[in-house]
């Protein structure tokens, strides 16, 4: 039977489930909420949402948003579809393997949910600037990388406008960030400039497991040690697929080579347990994933768009979920960090004696739990000119500036109270540090 589709593309009763919340008042709604038919129109016609990531969470988010009345949705994802995605990323089929996730996801939603216009971007988030991000009312992230989250966080912070030191609320774009791993997940609401940001709670993210080199090199005990030996030591030495060919975790031939080498290493030390699956898991740092956890976390997200959707005030901004034993949820208020390097506007300090080497400063920037930078580039203004003290990400500059690491801060010509500008993948904006000499 053909639906009687009106000029708006809607049919009778389409939004009835949603309308009860937008058009009826209730005892628990936000004090400023006014029930009205216009809210639905706002969702359908005006509200613009950006979804970052079209993977496990992204597919669920797109579906949930589309069926909640959001029509103007953009989705950004730099990846293509892999077979191992198909157990949970339900907008993709076997025939789609190799195609861009954002594009396939957008096509599927647009054809399944009439009237919905998902615009795909097969790009990295870093390829867009403020003018792109500024157009959205809300941004929702389903990312699998802490670095990308921090970058996004920094981008939204850079959009904030302050009039005489007072934050202009219209410059705030809420960020809703979700993550899952096996049977665990979390979702949080961030109002940049107002609530805790990603960097405020960096310590919540568990550190990545890296085995000590001496264990890998000479004292393996676990099958994982044997695999890391093949990956970190043998591959660069033996270059099995040619000069300069990096180990590609998605190439079965590469994994097979690592697997064989790991077996040999394990046999040498009477270690059992090296399997192909384990090899792949270690090399690719695979995180187990299922559809159900992504469904749960994505299900909390549109509810967290408080005023836009159901007009409920979220008491706590951080939700944690675990269904290993029964089901467990916990919400709390993540607090802002007073001296957060991303959102506090408090100038960051670096305290070192003038005899300290630049290497020590570099280590501090990467190892400090609140900073956790990945490959910081340090510049300073010396004799009126901007000088790069050390930069890793461009090989030629790295080579040129490497000797500076062994020089002391004094030798480099730095003075007490000097400003150092640090750039890193974890933030779109340079972070300014004030150098204080200690005795």
């Amino acid at each position: 039977m053909a639906l009687d589709v009106g000029s708006s593309g809607d049919w009778d009763g389409r939004w009835r489930h949603v309308q009860k919340f937008l058009e009826r008042s209730g005892p628990f709604t936000h004090p400023d909420f006014e029930p009205s038919e216009e809210t639905l129109q706002f969702l359908l016609e005006t509200c613009k949402i950006l979804v970052i990531g079209a993977g496990g969470l992204g597919c669920e988010l797109l579906k949930n948003l589309a069926l909640s009345g959001f029509r103007h949705i953009h989705v950004v994802d730099m990846d293509t579809i892999d077979v191992s995605n198909l157990n949970r990323q339900f907008l993709f089929r076997s025939k789609d393997v190799g195609h861009p996730k954002a594009e396939v996801a957008a096509d599927f939603i647009n054809s399944r949910v009439p009237g919905c216009h998902v615009v795909p971007h097969f790009k990295k988030i870093q390829e867009f600037d403020e003018s792109f991000y500024r157009q959205f009312h809300i941004i929702v992230c389903g990312l699998d990388s802490i670095i990308a989250r921090r970058w996004m966080n920094g981008m939204l912070l850079s959009l904030l406008v302050y009039d005489d030191g007072v934050l202009d609320p219209s410059s705030i774009i809420p960020l809703i960030d979700g993550g899952t791993e096996g049977f665990k997940g979390n979702a949080r609401v961030i109002l940049p400039g107002m609530t805790a940001c990603i960097d405020c709670t960096l310590e919540l993210y568990p550190p990545q497991i890296n085995f000590p080199m001496c264990t890998i090199a000479s004292m393996p005990r676990l099958p994982e040690h044997c695999i890391e030996y093949a990956r970190i030591l043998q591959w660069p030495k033996e270059k099995p697929f040619g000069d300069g060919v990096a180990l590609d975790g998605d190439n079965p031939e590469h994994i097979h080579w690592v697997f064989q080498k790991s077996l040999e290493r394990a046999a040498e030390f009477n270690i059992i347990g090296v399997t192909y699956r384990l090899t792949q898991g270690v090399v690719k740092r695979i995180i187990p994933a299922v559809a159900s956890t992504n469904a749960v976390i994505a299900g909390t997200v549109p509810s967290r768009e408080n005023t836009a959707l159901f007009a409920y005030v979220p008491l706590n901004n951080y939700l944690v979920f675990n269904d290993v034993d029964g089901l467990y949820t916990y919400t709390f208020e993540a607090e802002r960090k007073e001296n957060c390097s991303a959102c506090s506007q408090v100038p960051q300090k670096l305290q070192f004696p003038p005899s300290a080497k630049l290497q020590e400063v570099l280590e501090y920037l990467t190892e400090n739990a609140s900073l956790q930078m990945k490959s910081p580039a340090i510049t300073a203004t010396l004799e009126g000119k901007n000088k790069t003290l050390y930069l890793q990400t461009v090989a030629s500059i790295e080579e040129k500036t490497r000797p500076n690491l062994c020089k002391t801060l004094k030798e480099l010509g730095l003075a007490d109270g000097q400003e150092l500008a640090v750039a890193d993948v974890t933030t779109p904006q340079t972070v300014l540090f004030k150098l204080n000499f200690t005795s």
């Binding site: 049919w11 919340f21 058009e23 949930n64 299922v290 749960v296 034993d325 089901l327 919400t331």
Partner: protein, 535 residues
């Protein structure tokens, strides 16, 4: 595609979940046939999360015709589904998600099936019912209870999610606990462990060996020393443990100047004193299993689980000398490869020996009831022994008991309601809207003009419900108002949340891995909180 190709493809496709429940868990999933009653959005979201990981088959039972409202909140309906039978329309779009899965539908009202062919439901591994009226739900619950088929009830009502698990007895060998203590037996070392410890001469070792001796050996050695000097009593309280730690500290080699060397293995030993000296006790949960009737009386009907529980109990009383079979795994620790592997092998071999002893008990019980020993595989016995400390059994009582005036869990409800905003109030409201439905053949507040009058009617339902069960609790008017506001709506995002939650519980029931909830779960999508009650 050849069989081998197909398998590799499936391994790739399911890789991320195989790392959670293994090939044997996947096999259980692929042999399961799940029934969904009512293909409302909550139901199709649950099925989506079962079809994607490769459940063997599903059958949808639904007599409804698809409405415009249905298409609005259900991803597995499209605009040309209106007017079709809802079971049929949703099966098409769910089936399309995964060709490994077999999708079926029955265009029938569950009430009619219960009238004419209740045994229809006996064939399923699990029945899931969503958005089902109370009377039909109770009827279905009764049929499934008598047939021992697990039943999962799920509902989305406005901004409230609800799940109820009904299963006579669900056994779990692999519960995969998050923070399990290691099974090192330092308080009661078995002979092979003692021999192995004795083979170490810490005082006369080379420096390199000394620094690469596993902390387990170090603690064991010093424990022997301590016991000789303390009348064979292990360090028990904080003071004694601290004294023991000091003993370890003094064991660290010193260089020519008398300063202690860096010996990370000793640091590890000191750090682990607290947990390493915990007495190797049998957990209460496992003791309870030993005392259960099913363990005491092994018959030819006894499930493998109980035969193995009994065999382990026998082992504990005999070869185990009061202890469970040794688990056989040790955590990684600073040590050279040889020392670590030989220590690991001591535990591993003991575990195999213990499992073999348990196996002999299994065999004798099977023989006693006229069954072949092959009924329970060596692999299963070893897995059971490895998980002996983490066994769990879940009983979720029948709906008829939850609803019975004499059997209702009055105390649980009343004590939760000491906090009038506890999720328990949402349960009471769901029961109240069901009463409303019974009286008025509809849910409250479905149409705008009904809302105001229905608040009064619903309040009467709440009152009569509380009276019927003798519950002296206060249900705030705000909740009555809120539930009229909902108008029995099923917002997609809440359905999606419940779809994920329920699907995972279904997977736990089918794979017998991880522990299901017991027995009522409530999700409050307003406050983003949840709670589990035993009702």
């Amino acid at each position: 595609m050849t069989m081998a190709d197909h398998k590799t493809n499936k391994d790739q496709r399911y890789d991320r979940q195989l790392r959670l429940w293994g090939d044997h868990g996947q096999e259980a999933l692929e042999n399961a046939h799940v029934c969904l009653v009512n293909a409302a959005a909550s139901g199709t979201e649950i099925l989506k999360n079962l079809v994607l990981p490769g459940i063997g088959a599903f059958t949808i039972v639904d007599g409804h015709r698809v409405s415009g409202e249905d298409v609005g909140n259900n991803f597995f309906l499209s605009s040309d589904s209106v007017g079709k039978n809802r079971a049929q329309a949703t099966t098409e779009l769910l089936q399309e998600l995964n060709t490994d899965v077999s999708g079926n539908f029955v265009e029938e009202n569950p009430d009619r099936l219960l009238d004419n062919d209740p045994e229809f439901f006996h064939r399923f591994s699990l029945v899931i019912a969503v958005q089902l009226e109370e009377s039909t739900c109770l009827r279905l619950g009764s049929v499934l209870w008598n047939a021992a088929v697990p039943f999962l009830v799920c509902r989305t009502y406005g901004l409230v999610g609800y799940m109820r698990l009904v299963v006579r007895e669900h056994t779990v060998v692999e519960s995969h606990p998050d923070n399990a203590l290691e099974d090192l037996r330092l308080d009661q070392p078995f002979p092979e462990l003692t021999n192995h410890i004795t083979s170490y001469d810490l005082d006369n070792m080379e420096k390199k060996d000394h620094s690469h001796t596993p902390w387990v050996i170090i603690v064991a050695k010093y424990l022997q020393k301590w016991c000789r000097e303390h009348d064979f009593q292990l360090p028990r309280n904080y003071k004694e443990k601290e004294a023991f730690r000091q003993l370890l500290r003094e064991g660290i080699r010193k260089n020519e100047n008398g300063t202690p060397e860096e010996e990370e293995n000793f640091d590890e030993a000191i750090k682990n004193v607290n947990t390493a000296l915990n007495p190797s006790k049998i957990p209460t949960a496992v003791e309870d299993l030993f005392n259960a009737e099913q363990c005491e009386n092994i018959t030819s009907q006894s499930p493998a689980f109980w035969v193995m529980v009994r065999a382990v109990r026998d082992f504990v009383q005999a070869e185990g000398r009061g202890s469970l079979p040794v688990r056989g795994t040790i955590p990684d620790m600073i040590a050279d490869s040889d020392k670590f592997i030989s220590l690991q092998n001591v535990y591993r071999e003991r575990a195999l020996q213990d499992a073999a002893a348990v196996s002999r008990h299994v065999e004798s019980h099977l023989q006693a009831v006229g069954k072949l020993p092959e009924c329970i595989s060596e692999q299963d016995i070893r897995l059971f022994c490895k998980n002996a400390a983490f066994l769990r059994v879940v009983h979720c009582r029948a709906l008829v008991e939850e609803y019975g005036v004499d059997t209702v869990h009055k105390d649980e409800i009343t004590s939760c309601m000491d906090n009038p905003d506890s999720e328990m109030v949402l349960y009471l409201m769901l029961r109240s809207v069901d009463c409303f439905y019974q009286q008025h053949s509809r849910y409250p507040g479905v149409y705008n003009y009904q809302v105001e009058d229905d608040i009064v009617r619903l309040k009467l339902c709440v009152h009569s419900l509380l009276q019927e069960y003798g519950l002296t609790v206060n249900v705030k008017d705000d909740y009555v108002h809120e539930f009229c506001r909902y108008g029995a709506a099923e917002p997609h995002t809440v359905a999606a949340f419940m779809g994920g939650a329920a699907a995972q519980e279904a997977i736990k029931l089918i794979t017998h891995q991880f522990v299901p909830f017991n027995n009522t779960f409530i999700y409050n999508a307003m406050a983003q909180t949840s709670a589990t009650f035993q009702l």
